[in-house]
């Protein structure tokens, strides 16, 4: 009896206590909810109007996932991030993932329903089966209806790039801008000078330069230890910029894939591409390029250039910075410049194989535990991106904070160095990959070499040839893509090495067609005609 009484008393007491707390909380929370609701409402409407209010609500936290390209993550509480929060009222909570495991992490986080709110989706990610499943089940926000409300963001990316980045005809993310005319070649100006040669403008001049680099001792050391050009064809991911595709485009071939005569066809099916291979074969046989091109990796080919063994290298042109950094530590008075676009012959039109203008998109998650659940939340994040596209935002991204990451001298802004890297790079870390950055930004303290680079980017926009396959989906290609790519890569390499002849090359192409290539062409064409035209 006594037990029951005390138990009842205890029970009553706890009930009273809980209700008291509960109601107390509810009254508080309801009070604060109304308050915060009002404040957030105010922030949203104001964000939509792009007016910075003095009376802001709590900063919103955006949970992001981004690839890590360095060996350390930035301290998310440092001055730069604090300044970012000040400016945009957004706190970033970033998960940095080592680059090699990034696609794997996408799979596992989607499987766990733990995918971040905002994340970068590069081309490998966009091929990931789970992501595609999620995409087809309305797992990501379509931005078509929203981006017009954010003029800064819209203009920053540009209508063409928005359209190029469409998946299945819809805009699923903010494209990460890259220079359109990014592929090209870097050449040693000091070697050209030493041999009294000009930057080549046609294929013929190019081959002559290669010969001279190989035979005429451009580094003047009396030894026959130099050659013209280095490249690496192992692996199929590098086709865009390791020289084949670039040269082929110079000669008029499609850049990867093109829509011609009612069909989407690959470059290796054209005469122009084969002619490029023939030139390369000529160069290989004459010894003007590295003999091991078929087996070495992309970074290995850089070694030849960095150690002063050759004079030309095909790459993404902004690599000129990296090459210069390495080469100058070995040969301090080297001089690099961008090689001219080559015409097939004197007076012919010049082309450059463009990138798609962007590399991957920043997507907005709609499912799982970290989803962006409401339109309001999405708009708040878009407003954040929009703010970063203003001049103020871009300055923060490119220069940082005065006194901390840059100094002003003679009216010019100079980035402060922190050892080998800029203080800005150290403070930001790799976050720039997920924030709106222009493809290239001319800074006040650019060197002559960098100016040449940017000039090339600017001027070549008119000569670009687009690869239509970036927007196309083909089931066969998704499944067999890498095998098919490898088939033609092997055929091309064998032809250059002289192991097969012309008829066998075309036989190899027939083989490619029968192994699934024909299906890819059909599917690409169908997709093109449905969504793109």
């Amino acid at each position: 009896m006594r037990k029951a009484k005390s138990a009842a008393a205890l029970l009553m007491a706890s009930v009273i206590l809980l209700t008291a707390c509960g109601s107390g909380d509810t009254s508080n929370t309801s009070g604060s909810t109304t308050e915060s609701k009002e404040t957030t409402k105010t922030t949203e409407t104001q964000a939509a109007e792009e007016v910075v209010e003095e009376e802001r609500g709590e900063p919103i936290t955006v949970y992001m996932m981004q690839e890590l390209f360095s060996d350390t993550e930035p301290d998310l509480g440092n001055e730069w991030y604090t300044e970012l929060t000040e400016m945009t009222n957004v706190v970033l909570d970033v998960s940095f993932i080592p680059t090699l495991s990034y696609v794997d992490k996408i799979t596992t986080t989607i499987a766990d329903k733990q995918l971040a709110q905002v994340f970068t989706a590069n081309s490998s990610v966009l091929k990931n089966n789970l992501l595609i499943q999620a995409l087809q089940s309305d797992g990501f926000w379509e931005l078509d209806d929203y981006i017009m409300d954010y003029p800064n963001l819209y203009e920053f990316v540009g209508e063409d790039t928005w359209n190029n980045s469409r998946k299945y005809g819809k805009i699923y993310g903010i494209p990460r801008l890259r220079a359109l005319a990014r592929n090209g070649a870097v050449i040693r100006q000091d070697w050209l000078d030493a041999l009294g040669l000009e930057n080549p403008t046609t294929i013929e001049e190019f081959i002559e330069v290669l010969r001279a680099f190989t035979e005429d001792d451009p580094d003047g050391n009396g030894k026959n230890d130099t050659f013209g050009w280095t490249t690496a064809y192992a692996g199929t991911g590098n086709r865009g910029w390791n020289g084949v595709q670039t040269l082929a485009t110079y000669l008029g071939a499609p850049n990867g894939w093109a829509y011609t005569n009612g069909e989407v066809i690959p470059d290796f099916s054209t005469e122009a591409y084969f002619q490029a291979l023939t030139y390369i074969k000529q160069i290989y046989d004459a010894g003007y390029m590295n003999k091991d091109f078929a087996t070495i990796s992309a970074t290995d080919k850089n070694v030849y250039f960095d150690q002063g063994n050759c004079g030309i290298i095909f790459c993404t042109m902004d690599d000129i910075n990296g090459r210069y950094e390495n080469l100058s530590s070995v040969e301090s008075d080297c001089e690099l410049t961008i090689m001219n676009l080559l015409a097939a012959k004197e007076g012919a039109p010049i082309y450059t194989n463009a990138t798609s203008g962007f590399n991957g998109i920043v997507m907005f998650n709609k499912f799982g535990d970290n989803a962006i659940e409401t339109e309001e939340e999405l708009r708040a994040i878009l407003a954040f991106y929009d703010k970063l596209c203003t001049e103020e935002g871009q300055d923060l991204l490119n220069y940082g904070i005065e006194g901390v990451t840059y100094n002003v001298a003679d009216g010019k802004r100079e980035l402060i160095m922190d050892g080998e890297k800029t203080a800005l790079a150290v403070k930001m870390g790799d976050i720039g990959q997920i924030l709106p950055l222009a493809a290239y930004v001319r800074k006040d303290d650019d060197s002559e070499m960098q100016n040449t680079l940017y000039d090339a980017f600017d001027s070549r926009v008119n000569n670009v040839v687009i690869d239509v396959s970036t927007n196309l989906t083909s089931e066969t290609y998704a499944e067999l893509g890498s095998t098919l790519d490898q088939i033609m890569m092997d055929v091309s390499v064998k032809y250059i090495l002289g192991e097969i002849d012309e008829s066998e090359y075309w036989a190899g192409y027939e083989n490619w067609l029968s192994q699934g290539g024909q299906d890819v062409i059909k599917e690409f064409t169908a997709f093109y005609e449905e969504y793109i035209k």
């Binding site: 890590l68 360095s70 060996d71 986080t109 902004d318 990959q433």
Partner: protein, 300 residues
């Protein structure tokens, strides 16, 4: 019986060696010494490189003995918050994991030496897991379903007990004389007290050996950490080491111009840090090896 020829045989302990036999001994010693050196050479190289300046590494000016000393790599390591934290994380994962694994495993081994009901079933269950497993993906889905991803439990639980270790420890315990436990039981100990007071002290070499095995497993794990952990503050040092090596050797197909690629020299100091702790513990435990492994391993 005495025989003519190279060998003179005596009864008793004095037996003379033939010349061929001695030559063989000599070669054997030289050969084995060479093999031992080969085992150590990579470490010596890494150690030398970790204290060498960057230019020496790129131009290969040395092989085992450093040409000049430069401690930048270590300074960088000690100044890097991520790396130092990851070492602490590795220690944490290893210590907790080893304690957990040893506790569960040894208790299980002990119980399986007793003739309890269900022993055969449990034994069969354990042996079967050595022959067949669900595989990587289903295991991931289990951990994910338990909401353990991105926590340390995902690193401790899936590999908590090694069937192989458990069986070997069980064999060791079984080989102990029964009388000791029986005497204790007479004195009033229950099973658990027997276990703690009698059995455990008797199998110290075994415990040390297998604790080391588990510890090495936890310390060296790379794959589980990469698979389950997304929070970079929770990564063990093996993950960072991999990232550094991949970046500085250009293994990633990076089309972005890397502005933050670490210098070539950093990875050497990280390799040393990723290896040294285990090697430090090693000499203390090493003397237990033959004793600990032998009992169970002869059976196979």
């Amino acid at each position: 019986m005495a025989k003519k020829g190279k060998e003179t045989v005596h009864t008793g302990s004095q037996i003379k060696e033939s010349l061929g036999s001695r030559i063989f001994d000599g070669f054997n010693i030289i050969f084995l010494a060479g093999v031992g050196i080969l085992c150590l050479v990579p470490f010596l190289y890494v150690f030398a490189a970790s204290v060498s300046p960057l230019e020496d590494i790129i131009t290969r000016r040395f092989f085992i003995i450093p040409h000049s000393l430069d401690f930048t790599a270590y300074k960088y390591l000690l100044g890097s918050k991520s790396l130092i934290r990851s070492i602490g994380t590795s220690v944490f994962i290893t210590v907790v994991g080893t304690l957990l694994s040893m506790t569960v495993t040894v208790m299980m081994s002990y119980v399986l030496t007793k003739p309890i009901m269900g022993r055969k079933v449990i034994n069969a269950m354990v042996v079967f897991t050595m022959l067949f497993s669900g595989g990587m993906i289903p295991s991931y889905l289990v951990v994910s379903g338990l909401k353990l991803t991105n926590t340390f439990w995902a690193l401790w639980l899936p590999g908590c007990v090694s069937a192989y270790n458990m069986i070997l420890i069980r064999t060791t315990i079984k080989a102990l004389p029964h009388e000791l436990e029986e005497a204790a039981t007479v004195d009033g100990c229950n099973y658990f007290q027997c276990f703690c007071k009698i059995i455990l002290p008797l199998i110290k070499p075994t415990l040390a050996t297998f604790a080391l095995f588990y510890a090495v497993g936890y310390w060296n794990d790379y794959f589980q950490a990469t698979l389950y952990i997304s929070d970079s503050t929770k990564w063990p040092i093996q993950v960072w080491l991999r990232q550094i090596v991949v970046l500085s050797s250009g293994l990633a197909d990076i089309t972005e111009t890397g502005s933050n690629i670490p210098a070539q020299s950093i990875k050497f100091s990280v390799i040393i840090f990723a290896t040294v702790p285990i090697l430090c513990v090693y000499p203390f435990i090493q003397r237990f090896f033959t004793k600990g492994m032998m009992v169970g391993s002869v059976k196979g």
